[in-house]
Each structure stands twice: as structure tokens, then as C-alpha cells.
């Protein structure tokens, strides 16, 4: 066995996993606060990546401006979706709300095809190009820097939820909605902000992933891998998103490299099935929540 090759593949996988973790974080925040399973998360990140393409490619803005603008655009999209399409569904059955998010996903795909056509596109590169070596292991610079940025965002989120007053409001709402109301917490606003910040995390990840692998309207498929991540990690666990994200990213890449690309998805879903047998609520999930 070639350990150098294994090491390099693993490293790339772990880095990819970091980005999965970031998308999963976006999913988990929304689920934790609002109990909505958001199947549109992959499409929201795709939309943000296309926004970046428009700002940096079409309008030729500097990446320093284009990235924040695109991320904000993605966050805003999340907030608008919540306000106009999810809030009216409050109190309806969870399945109905899930169907709405699937509908939103198709709308976003259609919208993107109308504006930017269905052809695959390359993002203007904005990350440093000199190769990164960790010991003897080579890592593509795009992946390495993507990982670093993703992790930085993740850490900021974790610290915020753990230590800030806003984090307390979010966790209080997640723990007991009626009680949160009775504390004077504006629960509807927490819902909206959960969508905004969840979409923001996904948007950062979307731009970073698209920067390494290109962009097409089918980009949202990545949401499927992320679904595996959040189910393995536990739907409402931020820590679970982190651990499972890195693990699934690694597994997918290693399986793809050694068994062939067609084994990437079967490998992760096989692991998902095994884990669900032993831990039906995921590795870190709370027990009373429903299963998907």
C-alpha cells in the first residue's frame, strides 16, 4: 500500500469534509431552531456561488468585495424564503413543510438555469495558488485554503452559540418554544435569524466548494451528501455536524480514490445504514426528535 498516496487522499478528504461540516452546520442551525428539515440547503449554496460568479466574473469586482456580497446575498435569500414561504406553513405537518423546501430547491434550480444557463461554469479563482505541503504530503491549495476558511467560520459559529446572548436565545428556542416566548424572546425573529445564519454558513461553503470543483445547476446535489452527514451526526447537534462532516468527507474521497468514483455515494450510505442500526438518532442527536 502506498502510504503517501493514502495520506494525500485522506488529507484532501478531510479538507472536503470540513466544507461538508460547514454546510451541515447551516442545516443543523435551521433544524435546531425551527424543526424544519431544509432540503433546499444545497440549492441555497448553489445560488450564492452563482451570485459570486456574477459579481466576480460578470461585473469584474475584486473577490474581496464579491465574496462578502455573494455570502450576504445567500443569507438574505434564506431570510426571504423563511419569511415568505416557511412562516405561513407554521403549524402545518412537518411533511408539508419538507415538501415546500423541496419545491424551493426546484425553483432555485430553474431560476439559475434561466439566468446563467444550464452549462457548467468555472469560477474566477481567488484563493492563493502556491502548493501547500504538510510534511511530505501535497494538498491542492484551493482545497487547503477552503478548509481553513470553512473551519474559521465554523469556530466563530460555535463560539457564538456557546457564549453569546443571541446563542442563548437560539438554544432556549430550540429547547422549549413556548417557554422562550414567555421569557420575552421574539421566537419568530429567532426563526428568521436561524435561516439567515444557516444560509450564510451554506453560502460560504458553496463558494468554496464551487471554487474547487466548478459550478452547474446540478451543484445542489451535494445537499444529498450533507443529508448523510447530518443524519449520521444527529439532526440537531452542531458538534455532530462537525465530526460527521469531516468523517463523511474523508470516507467519500477515500472510497472514490480506491474503489472508483461510482462507489462514493454507496460507501457513505452504507455507513449511514450501519450507524442508524446502532444509533438511530445519529452520533450526537437528541433522543426525542423525530427520525428522517
Amino acid at each position: 500500500m502506498d502510504w503517501l498516496f493514502f495520506g494525500e487522499i485522506s488529507l484532501a478528504g478531510l479538507a472536503m469534509g470540513g466544507l461538508y461540516a460547514l454546510i451541515a452546520l447551516g442545516f443543523v442551525i435551521i433544524y435546531k431552531a425551527t424543526r424544519v428539515i431544509n432540503f433546499a440547503i444545497g440549492e441555497i449554496m448553489m445560488f450564492a456561488a452563482y451570485l459570486f460568479l456574477a459579481f466576480a466574473g460578470g461585473m469584474e469586482m475584486s473577490p474581496w468585495v464579491a465574496v462578502p456580497l455573494a455570502v450576504l446575498g445567500g443569507a438574505l435569500l434564506g431570510g426571504v424564503i423563511e419569511k415568505t414561504m416557511i412562516r405561513p406553513m407554521l403549524g402545518e405537518s412537518p411533511i408539508a413543510v419538507v415538501m415546500v423546501t423541496i419545491g424551493i430547491a426546484s425553483i432555485l434550480v430553474g431560476l439559475v438555469e434561466l439566468i446563467w444557463t444550464a452549462d457548467p461554469q468555472l469560477l474566477p479563482s481567488f484563493l492563493p495558488r502556491q502548493p501547500v505541503f504538510i510534511g511530505e504530503l501535497y494538498l491542492a491549495p484551493k482545497i487547503a485554503y477552503g478548509f481553513l476558511i470553512g473551519m474559521a467560520v465554523l469556530v466563530i459559529y460555535l463560539l457564538y452559540f456557546r457564549f453569546s446572548r443571541g446563542g442563548v436565545a437560539l438554544r432556549a428556542t430550540a429547547s422549549d418554544q413556548a417557554a422562550a416566548y414567555s421569557m420575552g424572546i421574539n421566537v419568530r425573529r429567532v426563526f428568521n435569524l436561524a435561516w439567515v445564519f444557516g444560509s450564510l454558513a451554506a453560502s460560504v461553503a458553496g463558494i468554496l466548494v464551487a471554487a474547487t470543483g466548478g459550478l452547474s445547476p446540478q451543484f445542489g446535489i451535494i445537499g444529498l451528501s450533507v443529508l448523510v452527514v447530518v443524519i449520521v451526526g444527529g439532526l440537531d447537534s452542531i458538534l455532530g455536524a462537525l465530526v460527521a462532516g469531516v468523517f463523511i468527507g474523508w470516507l467519500e474521497t477515500v472510497a472514490g480514490a480506491y474503489l472508483g468514483g461510482e462507489y462514493r455515494m454507496p460507501a457513505t450510505f452504507a455507513v449511514l445504514a450501519v450507524i442508524l442500526v446502532f444509533k438511530p438518532y445519529g452520533l450526537f442527536g437528541t433522543h426525542e426528535i423525530e427520525r428522517v
Binding site: 432556549a172 422549549d176 413556548a178 416566548y181 421569557m183
Partner: protein
Amino acid sequence: MDAVLEIENIEVVYNKTVQVLRGLSLTVPRGAIVALLGSNGAGKSTTLKSVSGLLALEDGEVTAGDIRFKGQSLKNRPPEKLVREGLFHVMEGRRVFEDLTVEENLVAATYALSGREDARSRGYELVYDYFPRLRERRRQLAGYLSGGEQQMLALGRALIARPELIMLDEPSLGLAPLLVEEIFEIVARINREQGTAILLVEQNAAVSLAIASYGYIMENGKIVIDGPAEKLTANEDVREFYLGVGGQDGEARSYREIKHYKRRKRWLS
């Protein structure tokens, strides 16, 4: 009379089909403790929820009547606004945030101060002075507190909000008699020292009437009898059906000897 809360003839319907309150009225004067007593399913909790606006979360609706807090009608005001105006509802079963620490629970309650000019001082120390045990456990998860401590935390959250009216839903639920007394003493102290009016919903009539100045008794969604606490305590029917003492001969009776069909509550006639 200077009332902090007035409920006038409200009717409440759940799911547009089940009527729970049928023309209930009550008044809480400023700075007073008022007890609302009644058995299971009488509609006590529903009364509180219709005041605090949490009814909508359970698909309930006030279909008639009016509720006024500090003279202003409460119709169509979101629950978090009411809390910020000084109406705090301590829900049945305490409802502490179990996966938050004790102190984080108090932090959550500071949202009640949003938009007030005195929002700077958070008042954690005041809570810890009333409940020294909470200070010892401030870094622990609230889920690991005992029932009594959770009730203290629920009251502590109310203190943080510096309300003009606290609505307490069954603070004695599931607590040992000694603890119940301790909790009620603190409730009376909060009322005395902070000047907070308290609307106390209870099944335990004896302890409630001991600290309340006025009492209401409800059955089947409306008030059947009300009066000053001493008067209620002396009332024969209240003594027999809610305090578990008395009857004609004035002695404590064994449940075995009670023949329910023999005596009708006078207010039913």
C-alpha cells in the same frame, strides 16, 4: 379600584370546537396576591395562557370578552411584547431550559427587558439572594436540578424580568410539602419586597389562601365563588371540597366516610 389585570367575561375555544372558558371574569389589584383555585380541567391554566398570549400556540382562541393589563386591552399582541411590558407567565411544570445552565436560563429571561430603559442592570444577584442554592449551581445544566430547584429557577427567571404581574401556574406541582411551604414563603416575600402583583393558580387551596388576599374558585370554565381569602377559608363548601376539612361537624373526615352524593355544592343549585 386600581387593577393591574382585569379579565372580563372571556370565552376560550380550542381547535374551534372545544369550549373551555365560559364567561370568566377576575381582577388582580396592583401589588396583591390573588389565588385562582380549582380542580383538574377547570380551565385555570387556560385562563393564564389566554392572558399571556400563549394560547395561540395550542390552537386556542379568545372568542369573547376582554382582557386588560394596566388598563389596556391585550387583544392581538404577541406574547413576547406582553412580557416586555411587565406581564410574566411562569408556566405549569416549570419549563426550565434543561440543556442550558442555570445562569443561561437567567440570561434568556433578560430578553424580557428589551426596550426598557433599566435594561442595563441584569439583576442576577437579586435572584441569587432569594435563592442561594441557585448561586451554587449556576454553572450546572438546569435539567440536573431537583424539582424544587427548578421551581426556584422558574421564579428566578420571573424576577429577572422585573414584572408588575407574575402569573404562577401550580408552583406546588410535584413538590414535597416542606418545599411547597418554602416556595410559597418566597412568593409572599417577592410580593412584599418587590411589590409585584401575583396571580396564583393552584390546586392546593390551603397554602394558596394562606398567602393570598383574595381568592377565586372556578369550575367548568367559570368562577363559582370568590371573596377575600379569610372569607373563603371560612366558607363551608370551600372547606369541605377544597380544604378537605369540615363539613357540618367541623372535624377532619376520612375520605372513606364521604358520601359525595349526599351533599351538593350550594353554588350549583
